[in-house]
């Protein structure tokens, strides 16, 4: 007697596993990226207060932009050119080994012109950021971020996950875990790596930055690639047209249904759903990544660079298309801000990469009525030193890492437009007013998304783990509209 006969003999008269999805009832099997049954939690954690932002576009400037060359205007430094940084300012604080051996710490004033923008009167580098300046009153400027980390790897990790030590979930994963999915055909959390025009000194970017850490695997970022298939293996092999693919998936699913009827493993049912989802993704991603339907005025707004796959402008435009389709969190990395040398040769191209696209993104989201509930974040992992690393001239200099203060900005999604938050000393070295530790920044972002960072937790290794860690952390109300 075959096993199947034996099994059928054991069965009660009542068939418990029908052919439809309803047979599985509460076992939620419909997430895009799939949950194994061990993780069959509902798709979203309900918000803890009304959210102001429904989605996030986070622009991370890898390497650490120099705050005093862009946002943290320090006019007095002009008179301090090539003078030594006073010990009273440095206070013997820790430096990286790249400059700790320097005999002198000569001050390098910013070579750029600054002017005031908007009603709020924000001082900005007017040579390199004229377009961003147009939105001064819609942007929440933060000049007092600070971090514990002094080197890239731990600093990016801290900025993204709240902790220098690798292995924790990043902000995007937390957002995905909390907000759940709005689109069954696309991932919740997408990562784009933009290629800078200048690639002199890029820093490491690795997939650990968008790993889900201890959160369930489906909350890991899905990296949309700028070369080859936008999602790994999304395209059929050559010689397999879509209708044939549909037929083969239908065949696989029919066979799997037969198997399910005899074995009864709920995971089989999930698999059937996931193959269907895979096909839908195959159908929707090409449409998503096809920019040819974007009208001319869009390219006028974002710039011609937006046509070039993998450019920052292109990535930002893609981000808009993604959030438009319900993706919750888009993380863009833009590299080469690590200006240890040759600020003069590198800063203009870095700013050219981002200035118009950032302006375009704000403008575009406004036109589509999405600005108010889409949070845009811009910033690096730390700041840079006022003193020069290596050779110094009026026109050119380098700057080492500086964790004690750096600048970021947010816009839309409940961020307070026109706010200028935090102040540093005249050397842009120490914070003198309203320090903003990255954990407070994270707490504030979670607040905008509708979560109380103290209660937005995940049980792991016995602890209620949270993005903001164990130190006292607060939501900064001044940053919220």
């Amino acid at each position: 007697m075959s096993i199947l006969h034996e099994w059928n003999a054991l069965q009660t008269r009542r068939r418990f596993l029908g052919k439809g999805a309803n047979a599985l009832g509460a076992a939620a099997l419909t997430s895009l990226l799939g949950r194994s049954l061990a993780h069959a939690a509902p798709g979203a954690v309900s918000t803890q207060h009304p959210p102001k932002a429904k989605r996030v576009i986070y622009l991370h400037m890898v390497g650490g932009p120099a705050q005093m060359d862009l946002f943290d205007y320090k006019p007095k430094m002009k008179e301090m050119y090539d003078k030594d940084l006073p010990d009273s300012i440095r206070k013997g604080q820790r430096l990286t080994t790249m400059t700790s051996g320097q005999a002198r710490f000569p001050i390098a004033p910013s070579k750029y012109n600054f002017s005031q923008f908007g009603q709020c009167g924000m001082w900005l580098n007017s040579d390199l950021l004229p377009n961003l300046g147009k939105h001064a009153d819609e942007i929440c400027w933060m000049r007092s971020l600070n971090t514990e980390a002094i080197n890239h790897e731990p600093a990016i990790c801290a900025m993204q996950t709240g902790n220098q030590i690798t292995g924790r979930p990043c902000l995007g994963s937390w957002a995905s875990y909390g907000l759940g999915s709005e689109n069954d055909n696309l991932p919740n959390f997408v990562v784009l790596i933009a290629t800078p025009t200048n690639r002199d000194q890029e820093q490491a970017i690795s997939s650990r930055l968008w790993s889900s850490g201890y959160l369930p695997g489906e909350h890991a970022g899905v990296s949309f690639r700028s070369k080859g298939d936008p999602i790994l293996f999304i395209n059929n092999p050559p010689g397999v047209p879509d209708d044939l693919r549909k037929q083969t998936i239908d065949g696989i699913n029919q066979l799997n249904r037969l198997n399910y009827e005899t074995v009864g493993d709920p995971e089989t049912h999930t698999r059937i759903k996931q193959y269907e989802m895979a096909f839908r993704m195959q159908a929707s991603v090409p449409e998503l990544t096809d920019l040819t339907k974007e009208p001319e005025h869009v390219f006028k707004l974002y710039g011609e660079e937006a046509r070039k796959r993998g450019s920052f402008a292109n990535s930002v435009l893609m981000a808009r298309r993604l959030v438009e389709r319900g993706v919750r969190f888009v993380q863009i990395y833009h590299n080469n801000w690590d200006h240890h040398a040759n600020v003069n040769g590198r800063m203009p191209s870095q700013c050219k990469d981002i200035d118009q696209p950032c302006h375009a993104l704000i403008e575009d989201l406004k036109q589509r009525g999405m600005f108010d509930d889409t949070l845009i974040v811009w910033g690096g992992e730390f700041g840079r030193t006022i003193y020069s690393q290596g050779g110094l001239s009026r026109e050119n200099y380098g700057r080492d890492h500086h964790p004690r203060c750096f600048s970021m900005w947010m816009a839309g999604g409940g961020a307070k437009g026109g706010r200028i938050y935090g102040e540093t000393d005249e050397f842009s070295y120490n914070i003198v007013k309203d320090p903003l530790p990255i954990n407070d920044f994270h707490a504030t972002v979670l607040h905008l998304l509708g979560y109380d960072h103290e209660r937005f937790t995940f049980k792991y290794q016995g602890l209620d783990q949270k993005l903001t860690g164990v130190l006292p952390t607060k939501v900064v109300k001044a940053l919220i509209s």
Binding site: G34, S36, F233, D265, E267, A278, G462
Partner: protein
């Protein structure tokens, strides 16, 4: 909050979840409540402890606290402050306080009340107590049991009113056993051999024979090693920043061998933790210590060595904790553990075991990570490798004797010597050209310019130096007219402006004529030599392997003996022989380039960026002593010009003796030749990272306040965690002492943790679901008595790994069919109680290996450097600093087992990654197992699977028969069983549609068949093969195939 399922089931088995059991068991009923709701403020961490009250120790409950009263009065809840604080309405007194966001449920309060009423019996945490031998439980059907373990499983099923599933049919069981023992599906021959002739179930004897046969295959060790390498966080890259290559694979191969020779697990452990500290350690025992060197390391500029070393040690403690102790020791890196009795001091006492080593803080982005490593020469090289240290020592004795003999002559010479006298020592024999290149302006003597004139940098090595860049180089002319079978040497001082790209130092090379000629060049951080008749089929290319070039002035020199072999080329940097690798070694023809010799460029390409000075060309291979002389002369002249200090005098003496004292010269060249031989063997031998103890200092560490490397607290000696006891008094206070304690009976954890992990491999989930955490917040065991029974059995049977697996594989529990009923879904949804056979999606590597195996393409070759199978572009390229390009292998390496895949931590193999393979950045003892559409895309579209489908289709078509026979054959190969009629109908339907498409669209057929490195069989009609390829791909995508 989700409760571990097993706990719910346990509760369910005792009645409705809300009923207070008759007899309260502290570990089961009370501790989980306290741990979740109270330990944060009243647990082991004094840093967050409130009111001096702790509820994680027995004393904490019954000894008077700061407030004056003992929290619990045995037998009297009304008088117990602990209980009163839970029920009081007074907001100030109520526990837990509102700001903790925690609250006890009524049921939980009732449990605590009942516990106190029953006299508050306390228990230490289960995993910290030695395993207890329990008698085999009686069950409803003892005859069902085939192994003792079945009695434990059955008893629990009885308790919840479930019956086991029927035994799986023979084919299913053979497939399951084969996959579990070897990681591969059964071969058709094996299946045929073991399928009972009567089509019945496998008898005990038949199953036993099958298990034995499979365990004897080398694939057994490969499969076991794959799990272990996750735990060991093995990878082929350093992990951080550049994430460059790390040579470590001999450790991986050692693990495979250890499993295959069934090394007892205690020895396996001691060798990996302390092989180097064993008496007279063997090479294998030292290779085994690689476990401790698998942690990620960095070479990021600006990082601080001390901080890196603290991180490396912390990683080792964390790994040890997860793998051997089932304790999340990492929680105590910054503070005392919140739940488990593991203090910060314990953490650093453990770290102390791993800090007293010779490892440096920066890995140099080189494959040896700047050591310590050992080299593993081939069998052919072994005799010389072993003899060389003795011969070199003897040579050095002769050298010392000659030095003594010649020293009076040196004393006499130096009394009157002048810098210019040294020029006489420049080797003059066969010198064909010397170009000083230090004129400081215009065109250097002996050259003609080509392209833009060179500029001059005032601060050169020997006077002003010319600066070369793209578009500028110097033509020397006829000197250096060496043929490919002619010996010669070239030397120069160089200062590279950059350490990327390729730049020619000196060459006579004809680019348009297949690069005929010779070239001495810089390539990135390395130097190289070309000797070419026709590139690449008739040529030699030799490059240095260990980042020889930096951006300072360096003396570089190459010699070639005219032998026509890569081994005839040597490269020296600052007088020292560099390790080299022959990348191309195909030279056959003697030829000569018809183009002038040039400095700074070949005839057309590869311009140098930087300065080149003091070029020498010789028409013979210089002796090592002559190399030394050329490289040192400049410095010696400077020393002699002033008043030489003791060090400079020594250098001058060595130079004098080398050039003017024949016995010394002979001895020196002899030693140099032996050293060169040693260097060359080293260069061509694999190496692997090992652990090495500093022998002159005790194992100590400082507590780091909040884990920060620069905030040092008390120094603590190496010791095991306090709650687990102490090292025996006579044990060495180092890793050997630790290792022996780990596998001793005194340690209650390791045997349990190990059997649990092995159980998890076969059954998908451990008896303790949280395999890395046996602490208070980990899941409690689903079958505590069974876990203890297994632990004791494993230890008392000599930690015999094969025996252990055999016991599980032949159990009735394991043999069950994986069939689910509604009742089982309700009472045992995750199969934690084993009410049916194991069925779960296989790990990434097993899926790929299975596809290779069933298509008959799997290579049996074992071991060696990491392989690079198909992978889409731009996976490696976008991570890490700098750009590392992934170049897939061709041929056999595309079809090796996935265990051998090159593992780059920042971008692990993409198709494996999507099936939850870990990055290996940290230890992983339990993989996630998700079910995602991205996985479907891999199985459908990854060339590896498309090609495997096509090759399976080829085999199927080459076998005789009609469509039905062929479908059946393919299914038997993949599923190990015949098709059912309903399945045949679906596949026949698919085939018809596919066939119609590919007959109508021959271009599609050709495109599909073009996928993969292995060429499609031309004898088969393309549309037919294409249609079958897609059918086979459907088979490979079946849920039944993705599952074990």
């Amino acid at each position: 909050m989700r409760q571990p399922l097993a706990l719910l089931l346990l509760a369910a088995s005792l009645g409705a979840a809300e009923v207070v059991p008759e007899k309260i068991v502290f570990n089961r009923d009370i501790r989980p409540i306290l741990a979740d709701k109270c330990f944060h403020c009243h647990g082991p961490d004094p840093g967050t402890r409130k009111a001096g009250l702790r509820l994680d120790t027995e004393a904490g409950f019954f000894v008077a606290a700061e407030s004056g009263d003992a929290p619990v009065v045995k037998g009297d809840a009304a008088k117990s402050p602990l209980y009163q604080r839970l029920i009081t309405q007074d907001k100030d007194d109520h526990m837990p306080p509102p700001e903790s966001h925690k609250e006890l449920k009524e049921h939980e309060i009732a449990l605590l009340k009942a516990w106190i009423a029953q006299g508050a019996p306390w228990q230490p945490h289960w995993s910290l107590v030695a395993p207890q031998a329990a008698p085999l439980p009686r069950t409803s059907d003892d005859a069902w049991a085939r192994q003792p373990i079945d009695r434990f499983i059955r008893a629990k099923l009885d308790a919840v009113g479930l019956k086991p599933a029927p035994e799986a049919d023979a084919a299913t069981l053979i497939r399951r056993v084969s996959l579990d023992v070897t990681g591969l599906p059964p071969s058709p021959a094996l299946l045929a051999k073991h399928l009972p002739k009567d089509a019945g179930r496998l008898s005990d004897a038949q199953l036993s024979a099958l298990v034995d046969e499979l365990m004897a295959l080398p694939a057994y060790g490969e499969h076991r090693a794959r799990y272990w390498l996750d735990a060991a966080r093995y990878a082929d890259s350093h992990g951080l920043h550049f994430d460059a290559y790390r040579e470590m694979w001999p450790y991986r191969d050692w693990v495979v061998k250890a499993f295959n020779r069934n090394q007892p697990f205690d020895q396996f452990t001691v060798e990996q933790l302390a092989g180097d500290l064993l008496p007279n350690p063997t090479e294998d025992q030292r290779v085994a210590t690689g476990l401790q060197r698998c942690n990620p390391t960095t070479n990021e500029g600006g990082t601080i060595v001390e901080e890196n070393l603290a991180n490396y040690a912390a990683d080792r403690v964390q790994t040890l904790g997860w793998v051997y102790l089932g304790l999340t020791t990492n929680c105590a890196q910054c503070h005392d553990h919140k739940f488990d009795p593991f203090s910060q001091k314990d953490f650093y006492s453990m770290a102390a075991f791993f800090r007293n080593t010779t490892q440096g803080g920066l890995d140099g982005n080189v494959k040896d990570g700047r050591g310590p490593v050992i080299y593993l020469p081939s069998d052919a090289d072994r005799p010389r490798w072993n003899a060389l240290p003795g011969e070199i020592a003897k040579g050095n004795e002769q050298l010392a004797a000659a030095r003594k003999l010649g020293t009076p002559l040196f004393e006499k010479w130096i009394a009157t010597a002048k810098p210019a006298d040294l020029d006489a020592d420049i080797p003059a024999k066969d010198l064909v050209a010397r170009l000083a290149l230090n004129e400081g302006k215009g065109l250097p003597a002996g050259t003609t310019a080509a392209g833009e004139p060179v500029t001059w940098n005032k601060a050169g090595k020997t006077g002003p130096a010319p600066v070369f860049k793209k578009g500028s180089h110097l033509v020397v002319g006829d000197a250096g007219d060496f043929g490919t079978r002619q010996a010669f040497s070239a030397a120069a001082w160089i200062k590279a402006d950059k350490v990327e790209g390729t730049g020619t130092i000196v060459a006579r090379m004809d680019d348009p004529k297949a690069a005929q000629g010779w070239s001495f060049f810089q390539s990135g951080r390395n130097l190289g030599v070309y000797i070419i008749s026709k590139w690449p089929s008739d040529a030699i290319k030799v490059v240095t392997t260990r980042n020889a070039v930096n951006t300072a002035y360096q003396h570089v020199l190459m010699t070639y003996d005219g032998s026509g072999k890569a081994a005839g080329v040597k490269i020296y940097v600052n007088g020292a022989l560099a390790e080299t690798r022959g990348e191309v070694d195909t030279l056959k023809t003697a030829s000569k380039a018809a183009t002038p010799t040039r400095i700074g460029q070949r005839s057309l390409s590869e311009p140098f960026h930087g300065s080149i000075q003091d070029v020498f060309l010789y028409s013979r291979a210089l002796e090592p002593g002559e190399v030394t002389t050329l490289s040192k002369l400049g410095t010696l002249r400077q020393s002699l010009a002033g008043k030489p200090n003791a060090q400079q005098r020594d250098a001058l003496r060595e130079h004098f003796l080398l050039n003017r004292h024949e016995p010394f010269r002979l001895a020196s060249n002899a030693v140099a030749r032996l050293t060169a031989e040693q260097t060359m063997i080293r260069a061509r031998s694999p190496l692997t990272h090992v652990q090495e103890e500093k022998m002159d200092s005790p194992a100590m560490a400082n507590v780091l306040i909040r884990g920060a490397y620069d905030k040092k607290g008390d120094a603590v000696p190496a010791e095991i965690p306090f709650a687990l006891g102490k090292l025996p008094a006579d044990a060495p206070r180092n890793r050997l002492g630790l290792a022996r304690w780990i596998v001793s009976e005194a340690n209650p954890l390791t045997a349990r943790v190990t059997v649990n992990r092995m159980w998890q491999e076969l059954f998908g989930t451990g008896l303790v679901r949280t395999s890395e955490d046996f602490g208070i917040m980990g899941s409690p065991p689903s079958h505590p008595e069974l876990l203890d029974w297994l632990a004791i059995d494993f230890r008392t049977h000599g930690w015999d790994v094969k025996r252990f697996y055999r016991q599980l594989l032949t159990s009735a529990t394991y043999r069950q069919a994986a069939l689910t009923t509604k009742e089982k879904i309700e009472k045992d949804r995750d199969n934690a109680l084993l009410s049916r056979g194991p069925r779960f999606r296989m790990d990434a590597e097993m899926l790929r290996d299975q596809a290779l195996a069933v298509s008959g393409t799997l290579s049996p070759r074992m071991g060696g450097p990491g392989t690079k199978p198909y992978q889409p572009e731009n996976i490696w390229e976008v991570v890490g600093v700098g750009i590392q390009v992934y170049r897939p292998d061709t041929g056999e390496n595309l079809y090796r087992r996935s265990l051998y895949n090159y593992w780059r931590r920042m971008a692990p193999p993409a198709s494996l990654d999507l099936f939850n393979a870990p990055s290996r950045e940290v230890s992983c003892v339990r993989r996630d197992r998700t079910n995602t559409p991205l996985q479907a895309l891999v199985m459908l579209n990854d060339p590896q699977y498309v090609e495997a489908s096509r090759i399976l289709a080829q085999h199927t078509l080459l076998a005789a028969g009609d469509d039905l026979a062929r479908l059946d054959a393919a299914a038997r190969r993949v599923l190990c069983r015949p098709l059912k009629p309903a399945e045949t109908a679906i596949l026949t339907g698919s085939l018809a549609k596919l066939r119609a498409h590919y007959v109508a669209q021959p271009a599609d057929a050709a495109a599909l068949l073009g996928i993969g490195d292995a060429k499609a069989d031309e004898s088969l009609p393309k549309p037919e093969l294409a249609a079958w390829t897609m059918v086979c791909n459907q088979l490979l995508n079946l849920d039944e195939i993705l599952n074990k």
